[in-house]
């Protein structure tokens, strides 16, 4: 537990620094009010808006831990969102819509996982196929238009609250905790890490690398399906062209800001989720600080660059070496200062 906490210290410090920075421009950033039985404030806004990227980052962390990458998650959001909206308009009811959307996510994950683990295609290429073609599938489902619906049950997943907390935030938190517990309480975490570090050695030791790799892509598809449901529910409609657009890149960024290596191996769900939180805090913070919206992307790029440079292992090493030499010099100076006196 203490190790897990130590692992996420850089992300927590980054988040705290960001909040401090935003509060210079917008002092009320941490204020939370109760309004009509729901919690309102910038923090709640960040938690709610960060849900899609946060959900994607959970699945992406596992995929990256196996030395893979899933570029299709943004597109899968569009597909699953379209399936959910279509099912509701066809009258399958809330349960049917959710099940069908989740099944679509599982199918996407199976497709990616099969290409990677069994056909042996490089993950970046394998998932690129669905990334580029999947929006076409979503358009077929929505028949090329924005498929709107009015169903309070489904809309609840986007704009409802549970005990005052926005439902997307609850979904995000619960999924993160659930997956993290599944990884640490069972042997899945270790087996996934072993396959990611050295697939050949793990297979020779009897780990079922193929099944594990398919499973992480399915998990990623499921997370994308949840994100797709949230996004569709939020706008009460399915937009095949824009739902989840470019979010796969934000999800990868969240995993990277979380300090997880793109070369696979050791991973931390908590750190990735904090990474997603950091990205959303940057986004929301820029708005709160009142910068003209033209500057948003430039400021975001600058902040992300700064965060990654500060966290870079090379720099940490330099920094450590610099401090050590400074300490030694100080010590040397002190002893030489003492000597004449003796």
């Amino acid at each position: 537990m203490r190790n897990a906490l130590r692992r996420v210290i850089p992300q927590l410090v980054t988040l705290a620094a960001l909040v401090a920075l935003i509060s210079v421009f917008f002092p009320d950033v941490l204020r939370i009010e109760v309004m009509d039985g729901r919690l309102v404030g910038p923090v709640m806004d960040i938690l709610k808006r960060g849900a899609p990227v946060g959900l994607l980052a959970i699945g992406m962390t596992l995929v990256i831990a196996t030395r893979g990458i899933d570029l299709s998650v943004g597109t899968v959001m569009a597909i699953t969102g379209a399936v959910a909206a279509w099912s509701i308009t066809q009258g399958y009811g809330l349960g049917g819509a959710l099940v069908l959307a989740l099944l679509a996510g599982v199918a996407a994950g199976l497709w990616n996982g099969t290409l990677v683990a069994i056909a042996g295609i490089q993950p970046i290429v394998a998932t690129l196929i669905l990334m580029t073609s999947g929006r076409g599938i979503a358009q077929l489902v929505t028949e090329g238009r924005i498929l709107t619906f009015s169903h309070e049950g489904l809309a609840f997943f986007g704009s409802g609250t549970l005990l005052g907390v926005p439902v997307p935030a609850v979904l995000w938190g619960a999924t993160a905790i659930g997956v993290a517990l599944l990884m640490t309480r069972t042997a899945l975490g270790m087996l996934i890490e072993a396959v990611g570090v050295n697939r050949s050695a793990a297979s020779l030791a009897g780990a079922n690398a193929r099944v594990l790799i398919v499973a992480v892509y399915v998990t990623s598809g499921l997370c994308a399906a949840l994100a797709g449901i949230v996004a569709t529910a939020d706008i009460r409609g399915a937009d095949a062209n824009n739902a989840g657009l470019w979010l796969e890149l934000d999800a990868i960024l969240a995993v990277v800001i979380g300090g997880n290596s793109l070369l696979g191996g050791r991973f931390s769900i908590a750190a990735s989720v904090l990474g997603a939180l950091i990205i959303q805090t940057v986004d929301t913070g820029i708005l709160l600080a009142g910068f003209p919206s033209d500057y948003n992307l430039v400021i975001k790029a600058g902040l992300v660059l700064l965060i990654l440079v500060v966290q870079s292992p090379n720099l940490a090493h330099r920094w450590y070496a610099l401090r050590r030499t400074a300490r030694e010099q100080r010590k040397a100076a002190m002893t030489s200062a003492k000597e004449p006196g003796e």
Binding site: T186, A187, L191, N198, A201, A202, G206, A207, G265
Partner: protein, 504 residues
């Protein structure tokens, strides 16, 4: 002497790759450098070409001390290298490859005519007639090899080092290459020839230097050597280890059969073989590199499943179609390439030890943390694994300790049949003896073990029976008092050996 090294030493964490090696290359000779995997051949070459920096010792070229810090520096000094995977650019033309980095220019632009002329001049005397303006990719590996040699000779011109140059050539291409090499030798170049094809060594080279375990064993004129003596040098026969003095008991007593492989084989990997494994027996598998030792092991463990024959135990047929199936049948396999196939470097000693056990139990039934720590601590104590603790990443340990972790992984499974491929490769002497003792100990407790090794003394020390593999066939089986370095070497070097190209 053209190029000499004196007490050249290079140490890697946990292992001495080169231990005071003296090596001399004369002008106008082809000098073979031989040794099994891990003997130190490539480390020696890399020290000579500046890819590695030596720890101590001297290198002298034409009597003057040199310390190349990069391959390009070595090239300027006169030492050129051609590696097995040729370092040329197949998408450029032959002429561009030959003049790369030193293109003739005219008004600041590359002069295509002069470039082609220069390339043609460079290829003169190599006996190949090719169009230098075509892409290198259009030509065969043999031609590319010769182009690479021509480039290396033109750039350096004193010493040419060839690392396994014939590995992907057919017999006719080898003959062409050898003609080229003889021509270069007659022009006064010193050529270092690394190969594991002994026939080619006898055909081409003037002198031979054999390395084993990072030390030079011998340098002799090729004409004064015969096959048997050479293999003896490569595999070693001096029984210097304490373990080897073990009294050979029980060699004759019949053991109940544990496993039986019949007609077990796979075309292209290993010819069908019959093999019975007794309970508590240590089987040795001897043979030269590439002879089919590892292939036999991989077949038995399902890494590459057998296509003919069957494996049976007392209960009937065994499914060995994958490592998982083999593990379910009670098999274990510590592979030869420890770093690539054995350890999971970023994971801790504890996780590496419990990995196979956990994989067998399935993901849903995690081994409790306390139990994992108990297992790890038990094997750290029992095998004397030198680590700062069970949570240290395995990648930080020395080679010998990594090997012990892989062993511990399998011991934790209590397999009935354990395959160890080169269990002592790259391990220091102390750990070496410990591992051999452990093998005997495990066999005494009833485990059947198959040991693959390039070191004859090792096999003689531990094995109850030795199978000899040559040209992807099991050619001999020695037992009891018949297991001597002499009998093994004779079986490996048998006179009816097929041409080595067949081993491709």
């Amino acid at each position: 002497m053209l190029l000499t090294t004196r007490s050249l030493t290079k140490t890697f964490p946990g292992a001495k790759a080169l231990d005071s090696v003296d090596f001399g290359l004369a002008a106008g000779e082809v000098h073979a450098l031989l040794g099994e995997n891990g003997a130190g051949k490539s480390t020696l070459i890399k020290c000579l070409t500046g890819a590695y920096t030596r720890d101590s010792g001297d290198i002298a070229l034409d009597g003057a001390p040199i310390s190349p810090r990069s391959t390009s520096e070595a090239q300027e000094l006169g030492i050129g290298t051609v590696y097995q995977e040729i370092n040329l650019l197949p998408n450029l033309t032959v002429a561009q490859n030959l003049t790369f980095g030193r293109e003739p220019t005219r008004f600041g632009m590359v002069d295509g005519h002069a470039q082609r002329r220069r390339a043609e001049t460079m290829l003169e005397g190599y006996g190949i007639d090719i169009d230098v303006s075509r892409d290198l990719a259009a030509y065969s590996v043999a031609v590319r090899q010769i182009v690479a040699i021509a480039r290396a000779v033109a750039l350096s011109g004193k010493v040419l080092i060839l690392d396994e140059p014939t590995a992907s050539l057919d017999a006719r291409e080898v003959a062409t290459l050898f003609n080229v090499l003889r021509g270069l030798r007659d022009r006064g170049l010193g050529i270092v020839f690394v190969s594991h094809f002994l026939d080619q060594v006898f055909e081409l080279t003037d002198r031979v230097t054999v390395l084993r375990n990072g030390r030079k064993v011998v340098t002799e004129n090729t004409a004064d050597l015969d096959r048997v003596r050479l293999i003896e040098h490569m595999l070693g026969h001096a029984l210097e280890d304490e373990v080897s003095t073990r009294a050979r008991t029980g060699g004759a007593t019949a053991r109940p059969d544990l496993l039986r492989f019949e007609g077990y084989g796979r075309p292209g990997r290993i010819e069908p073989f019959d093999l019975s494994v007794g309970k508590g027996e240590v089987l040795g598998l001897a043979g030269l590199l590439g002879s089919g030792r590892t292939e036999s092991a991989e077949l038995m463990f399902g890494v590459t499943p057998a296509q003919t024959g069957a494996a049976t135990d007392a209960g009937g047929m065994l499914d060995l179609s994958s490592p998982r199936a083999a593990i379910a049948a009670g098999f274990g396999f510590a592979p030869e390439e420890r770093k690539e196939d054995g350890i999971v470097a970023d994971l801790s000693v504890r996780e590496n030890i419990v990995l196979a056990l956990q994989a067998r139990r399935g993901w849903a039934r995690p081994i409790p943390r306390a139990e994992q720590l108990r297992l790890a601590q038990m094997y750290i104590d029992r095998l004397d694994i030198r680590t700062s603790g069970p949570e240290q990443p395995v990648g930080d340990l020395s080679g010998g300790n990594q090997q012990k972790v892989v062993l511990a992984r399998w011991l934790a499974m209590t397999p009935r049949f354990l395959i160890l491929d080169e269990p002592t490769r790259g391990i220091d002497v102390g750990a070496h003896a410990e591992i051999l003792r452990l093998i005997r100990h495990l066999a005494a407790d009833g485990m059947s073990i198959l040991v693959i090794s390039s070191e004859l003394d090792e096999l003689i020390a531990v094995a109850d029976r030795v199978i000899v593999v040559r040209d992807r066939r099991h050619v001999a089986e020695l037992a009891g008092a018949d297991i001597t370095s002499d009998t093994i070497v004779r079986a490996i070097a048998a006179p009816d050996a097929k041409p080595t190209e067949a081993a491709q």
